[in-house]
Structures are given as C-alpha cells and as structure tokens.
Symmetry: C2
Subunit: 359 residues, 2 copies
C-alpha cells in the first residue's frame, strides 16, 4: 500500500524549519526583501536548492494585474478546415485563463503570397503584442518579421512548421521529415513489394505547395522510397488549388495514362479530392493515404475510399502555443523549445477515438 497527499507540496513553514530560521525570514528571502542577514539568506537558499523550490508565480502574476495582448498570424482558410481546430485550441487556452487579462488577436495571410504575410504582420505589429503565434510562410518574410520582434524582445512561437534558424521561443508541430518517412512505410506495407508505380498528388498554386510541412513530408517519403523501393516509380499528379472544376478530367486523364497505378498518397489535407473521385466513379480497387482529420477526409475514411490518415492534434498545437507564451511572459516559467506532436495513424477502425477537439 502507498499513500500520496495533495499537501505533499513544500510549504514556507517547512522551509523555515529546515533552515532553522523564522517564517518571516524565508518570506523575505523569497521576495528579495531587505533585512536578512547573509548567514540566514545562505541557509534558506541552500534549503531552496536542496528541495528544488518552485515559487508560486501564478499568485505573483495575478497580483501584478497587468493586461497582455497575444497575436496570431495564421493562413487564411475555409470554415471547418484544418486551421479551424487550431483556432479553437488557441481560443480555449485564453478562455481557461480567466483570472488574467488576456486578449488574443488573429490576423490571416494568403499562403501563396509573401506580401500578404508582410501586410498581416504589419497589422499585428501595430497592436503592440506581448507575444505572437506564427505559422511560418516562406523563409524571408517570416525572418523579416521575426527579426523585428526579436529586436523588441517580443517572444514568438512557431506553429505547424518550424524554422529553427530563426530561433522561436517554442515550436509545436509534427516532425515533418519523420512523418513522411513513416507514411511511406505504412503506405508501402499496404502497396506490397510488387507495386511498380504509385501516385503522389500535390495541390499547387503559383508553382508551389502550401507549406514547408508538405515539402518536408515529401522529402521524408522520398527518402523512404529511395532506400527501400528504389524501383518503384513515384508519378506526380499536380492539381491547381484555385478551383475544383478541372479536377475530374485531370484525374481521369492521369489514371487512363497510368492504368497500373492503384496506390495514391498526398501530403496535403485534401486527400478527399481523390477519395471522392473514386467514390463518384465506383472505383473500389484503389488505396489512398492522406493527412488530417478534416470533415471530407473523415467521410472518405468511413466510405472506405481513404485507408489511412495521419493526424497531428491541431487543437493541442493551438492550445499549447498560447500556453507557452503565457508561461514564458506571464508566469516567467521555462518553456520547452521543440515540441513534436505525435504521429497518429488513423483508419476507419480507430479514428472515432481520436479527439481533435480536446477539452
């Protein structure tokens, strides 16, 4: 039998007893107040070190009663898209800290337009933020904004994709290289050793994919393929993000041209474009691997036109990003720099137990 008590935390009284000084002296040392002899201070500090004392920064921060403005810079998006879950997490973290005066202001940018990021960043700058959550765009515009923040000692957190060279306070997102490598392993386990050709679908706009995450996932995936399936050809199908009108004929043309392709993968969150095509056309013999628990992907999982999705806790990424800013700025607590989300593999059998929206 063992027992544990909620009072197993250390109290000022205990510190005083251990140091052989009065409670008042301990209190004066803890709050850096005068009228403590050097000897008494040394005794108390030795005990604090011994017990690894964590001061109650929460109470101190409350007493300080300051207002804090946090800002976020997110990609513009539809309702119910991947980013909506990120937003819910960001908001919930603010609402859960009702004892403090926190505000969160969100601005959006176009993922394919560097100047759009700079404009939204300018609007954030004008808010005089105490801290910022950023989904990085391309390196140059992201770095330009972050340098300004750093010059003013304004901490920022990267969400979704990391740019370690810019040295954010923290990063929350998946390890994209590993994620693509892992996707390759599961995907090829299903495709089997005899697959000669597989389809990689990319959604492009202005000649590129939406995010660094997607680029890096592909790098990881291709590394897996080169190592273990050097003879399997990866054929790309590029669709334009601008509209769904042309998808049907582009996909049909691709499949006509590659009648041996039965296994498809994508690193964007819209695997459903292929899944819904298979469904509309009654194609049952195809296997599809994608990313993210967005509504239309989930419907395809249920219908059997998507076999696997990798999910990445968008809600938690949002929640933890704000929490990192709060802990660092308000509570003066140490924050872990690199925070990889789990690589969750979801199928028709287990997706219902995955909670994208956590409480």
């Amino acid at each position: 039998m063992w027992e544990v008590h909620s009072s197993d935390k250390i109290r000022i009284k205990d510190i005083a007893e251990r140091s052989g000084v009065s409670v008042g002296t301990v209190d004066r040392v803890l709050h850096n107040r005068p009228n403590v002899s050097g000897k008494a201070r040394a005794k108390v500090e030795a005990v604090l070190k011994e017990i690894n004392y964590q001061p109650n920064m929460y109470a101190s921060a409350l007493a300080y009663n300051r207002k804090y403005t946090f800002c976020c810079l997110l990609p513009d998006h539809d309702r119910n898209a991947y980013w909506t879950n990120v937003e819910k997490g960001l908001q919930q973290c603010i609402l859960n800290r009702g004892d403090f005066h926190l505000s969160l202001i969100t601005e959006y940018y176009d993922q394919f337009e560097g100047s759009s990021f700079a404009v939204a960043a300018e609007r954030i700058w004008d808010k005089k933020p105490d801290g910022v959550v950023i989904v990085p765009q391309n390196f140059d515009v992201t770095q330009a904004f972050c340098r300004r923040l750093q010059e003013q000692d304004i901490p920022f957190v990267f969400l979704d994709s990391n740019v370690p060279e810019i040295e954010p306070l923290a990063f929350f997102g998946q390890d994209s290289l590993k994620s693509g490598y892992f996707a390759g392993r599961i995907f090829m386990m299903q495709a089997g050793e005899h697959a000669r050709r597989i389809l990689l679908m990319k959604l492009m706009s202005k000649g590129r994919v939406a995010s660094r995450q997607q680029e890096y996932r592909e790098v990881g995936f291709r590394e897996y393929m080169t190592t273990y399936y050097p003879d399997c050809e990866v054929v790309e199908l590029s669709l334009q993000l601008d509209g769904e009108d042309g998808y049907e004929s582009r996909i049909r043309a691709f499949l006509d041209e590659h009648p041996d392709v039965r296994h498809c993968i994508t690193f964007c969150s819209r695997a459903y474009i292929l899944g819904e095509y298979f469904q509309r056309n009654g194609l049952k013999d195809f296997h599809l691997f994608g990313y993210d628990m967005v509504e239309r992907n989930v419907e395809c999982l249920k219908q059997g036109t998507i076999d696997f999705l990798i999910a990445q806790h968008p809600w938690k990424q949002g929640y933890n990003s704000v929490k990192a800013l709060f802990n660092h700025i308000v509570l003066k607590k140490a924050v872990q720099q690199c925070n990889y989300m789990p690589l969750e593999l979801l199928t028709a059998e287990n997706y219902i137990y995955y909670t994208a929206d956590e409480k």
Copy 2:
C-alpha cells in the same frame, strides 16, 4: 481578424443587468439564500438558464475545506510495468490539486486470485473512502465489492476494463473489442493474403489470461479473422506466467512444429518474450504485433523484432480516473460515463512522439 478575451466569461454583474435586479439579489439566488421575491428569483433563473450559467464550484469547494480520501485497487505488478504509468497518473492528479485536502491510498491484488481482490477490497473498505478507482477483476468479486460501495453511495470509477452492468460513475480504457479488430486489420495487412497460419501467443496462469481486456481483444481479433481471412488458421501458443525459464524451449518446439508461421500477435503487454527470442536466435524473418509501451517492448521495436504496438495512454487513464472522482465528489460537476482512450498504433518510426508520461 477576430479577438477573444479571457474575460469573456459571464460575471454576476452581467447577470444582474440582464435580469434587471441587484447584484445582491443574484448572489442570494446563486447561493440559495432567503429574502428574494418569487418574481426576482424567476427573472434571475431565466437568465441563468439562457446563458447556461456554470457556478464556480471550485471556490465553493475550497471554502468548504473538507478532507477527501480516494482509494485505488490495482493489480499487483513489477516496477516499470504497464501499471506503473497508471500509478504516476493517479498520483499526479492528486498532487495537482494541492489547494484541497486529498489523499490517495492504493491497495494491490493478484490478478489470478479472486480472493486476493476481496481481501484488498476489504482493506479499502476500512479506510472509509470517499471514492474508489478500480481495475475490475472477475465479474463476481468486482460486483460484490461495488454493490457495497453503491449501498453507501460511494462512487467508483473503472480503469482499464469496463463492466458496464455494474454501472460505475465512469470508465477509462480502450474499447477492447475494437482494439482487437483494429489489430487484426493492421496485422493481416502486413501478413498479406497468402498467410495460411499465424501465431497467437497467450500468457496464462491458473488456466486463464490476466484480464477481461485481453479476452475481449481476442474476441475482436477473431471476428476480424473470421470475416476477412476465414482460411487463415490461428494457432495458439500458451506460456505460463509463473516463470520465464520454460519459454525458450516451448517457443522453439512451437516454431519447429509450425515452420510456415512467420506472423505472431499477442494481446498481453509482453510481446517482448517472443521479440527477445527472435533476437537471441537471430531470426529476422518474423513479424510481431503486441500491446503497450513497456520498456522491453520498446527495446524490441528499436531492434526491429516487434513491428507494431498498440498503446493506450495508461498515464492519462490514471489521471482522468482520479479527476472524474474529484469533479463528481468535490466539485459536484457532471462526469462523462464512458471514456475510450485512443487506439494508438506505434512503430519504430513514431513511438518517440508518443508520450506515455504526460505532464
């Protein structure tokens, strides 16, 4: 752009304004105090209903300043086993509620001995617990103890395996039937259509496996096999839990007898018994699927002798079980009855992102 504020919670002042009564009247209604006219009470209650008001039970409970004793009834286990993570979660939830006077007392029972459960339960009974977390043993002994608790209105939570007929306050664990079914799907995706015979390893003691969880996982697995692979034979290898001495020769004899078997699965947390055998004997051509992130299993994942593990957040099960008791008993909050853990599929590539010990 949107903004959210931590003050977006409703205040008593707002309720007063909306109801057209004084703050004092709202306060008297909220605390069920006298001297409120029927008309004023009705107005306030209408507003409370409209805004779905949640009273601050935390502050009320603190003011009440009572002591609470929670107890747990867990299977006896080695250090660093699966249950160790459950215990860490149970303890952390108590330590995180340092504002309250909570104690947690844990008693252990032998999973293969009904009378051992009854003896440990008796010891818990003597502590006059306010609430109990129970890992169910067989139906009769579990029910006998729970009936006594129910007669005294002492709430209890089931952890790991559920017995819904006994009607616990809450349950935290995996959906074992679905878990076994899911395991079957991934396992056979790897084994391929041509697998004619696969090995199911069971650890037995006194003629049975350790838990209802393991039994149900097997039911789910066999359902999958019967539906999709009716011609694939499932051959059982039973090992005795009492000691590892005999394992080597039993496994060797089995494999000699079934030279075509290359795919092995187990629903207990000791897949490493087979994994370490493969490693010791330099057998590279075997595939193994198991459960739980215990140390020796993880080592086999790294070495490549286990391909897949299903993990089930033991830390979170422990934490959430105590939290459910706390919310129900201390804060008088509603608690969700059935709480399935995610079915996490882990491989050498993604296990490092799975956090068994959460903070």
